[in-house]
Amino acid sequence: MAIWQAARTEFCAVALAFVGWTGAVLAQDLQRFEAKIDIRKLMIVDGPYELQGSTGIYGFVVARSGGKATFRPCTGPMVDVDDNRLKRTKSTCADEPPTDGNPFSVGCGGGVEVPSQVKAAIAKEGPTSALGTIFEMGSTSEVQVYATYDNTAASKIKGIDRMATCGDWNIGFDASGADIMHFLSKDNATTGNYGDLKQ
């Protein structure tokens, strides 16, 4: 009888510990995906485009040279493709096919917030900037503009695995789900569509 009671007590303790641990993990996951995205760094791109001869591959062009385009797809690494393989599309990263059943996904979290200094910089330089131009706001709230798409710029977006479309913005995430670059199409920079997104 005593052994049964001891076993029952132990079982209850283990069950409670398991429920508590599961709850903590779930709460942590929820918190991670609901954080607001702060646009302190962005790159001007062209698009969206669809890769012709493939189905459901969308992305943006970050640079062009000699008939080739550096294509930043919504999912996967950057590749150089012939410019004539890209066709303008109204589809976004949200229209890509689903993944292989893995529940991990990236999204717009708690919304997108664009600091006023960044908005002012885009209004001033965005419409005339070349593809691949990076705007970056440092700790002093001053926005630096890097007008050349070079190896340094490429390295900043190399780690992106997949992108999510959040309003006017396309957010690039690495494999751990951290947003490492935010993309704004030249069209949106020109027409003034680079506002906050409330979720």
């Binding site: 052994i3 049964w4 076993a7 890769l51 001869g53 493939s54 189905t55 459901g56 591959i57 294509f71 797809p73 999912t75 996967g76 690494p77 590749v79 493709v81 890509e96 096919p97 689903p98 993944t99 292989d100 059943g101 893995n102 991990f104 695995d161 997949r162 494999a175």
Partner: protein, 209 residues
């Protein structure tokens, strides 16, 4: 009554190993097909196929060590005097707990093995299978896509059953990230095609073509 109870226990003991092996095979197959978003319940897989694939997760260190550990615990409980009585009283609960733990270990091993096998398909390291497909009577986008894949040697076999061949056509620009899945029936018709996009599992860097 004792005779009936004994018969029931013996029947359960005889059926448990087969059920366990069947579960292992099914855990592996459903995990593998799930990597390509194929619903395993829609695939007609024979009992023999399921049992053969059972050895993939069973032949893994976590499963073998768990079984060995449970065997040691059982032997200790049978021969160590202070443990005999308490184990006899709680035997059923302990057996159920051991079975559940073993099932979870098998499931995790099956998932890991399925991921390895699915990676081989995505990396192009599986059989280039060109299933015979009858051209349709009128223009069909799926058939044209299939023909392009076949001609550029981008098809890889996922699984072949008695009535359907499941093939993955890897994208020419992003082969480890995007693909089209084809289900080709035995009569040469494409049952369906579906776009597939893969999650990064940290294994993508070495993908070449």
């Amino acid at each position: 009554m004792t005779g009936t109870r004994t018969a029931i226990v013996e029947a359960a003991a005889a059926a448990t190993p087969l059920a366990f092996v069947y579960f292992s095979g099914w855990a592996y197959l459903s995990a593998y097909l799930g990597k390509f978003d194929i619903d395993a319940t829609q695939v007609d897989v024979s009992l023999a196929t399921v049992l053969v694939y059972a050895f993939v997760p069973l032949n893994s260190w976590p499963v073998l060590l768990t079984i060995a550990g449970l065997a040691v615990v059982y032997l200790l409980s049978a021969f160590v005097r202070p443990l005999v009585k308490p184990v006899r009283r709680t035997g059923l609960v302990l057996m159920l707990a051991a079975l559940v733990a073993l099932l979870f270990v098998v499931r995790n091993s099956a998932d890991a093995a399925a991921e390895e096998m699915a990676d081989l398909v995505w990396f192009g390291q599986k059989s280039i299978t060109n299933a015979v497909v009858k051209p349709p009577d009128k223009a069909d986008q799926s058939y044209e896509e299939y023909a392009r894949c076949r001609d550029s040697r981008r098809l890889r076999q996922i699984l072949g059953t008695t009535d359907t061949m499941y093939l993955l056509c890897r994208n020419d620009v992003l082969p480890c990230w995007h693909a089209v899945l084809f289900a080709v029936r035995n009569d040469g018709a494409i049952a369906y095609s579906a776009e597939r996009r893969r999650n990064n599992d940290g294994n993508m860097a070495s993908c070449k073509n």
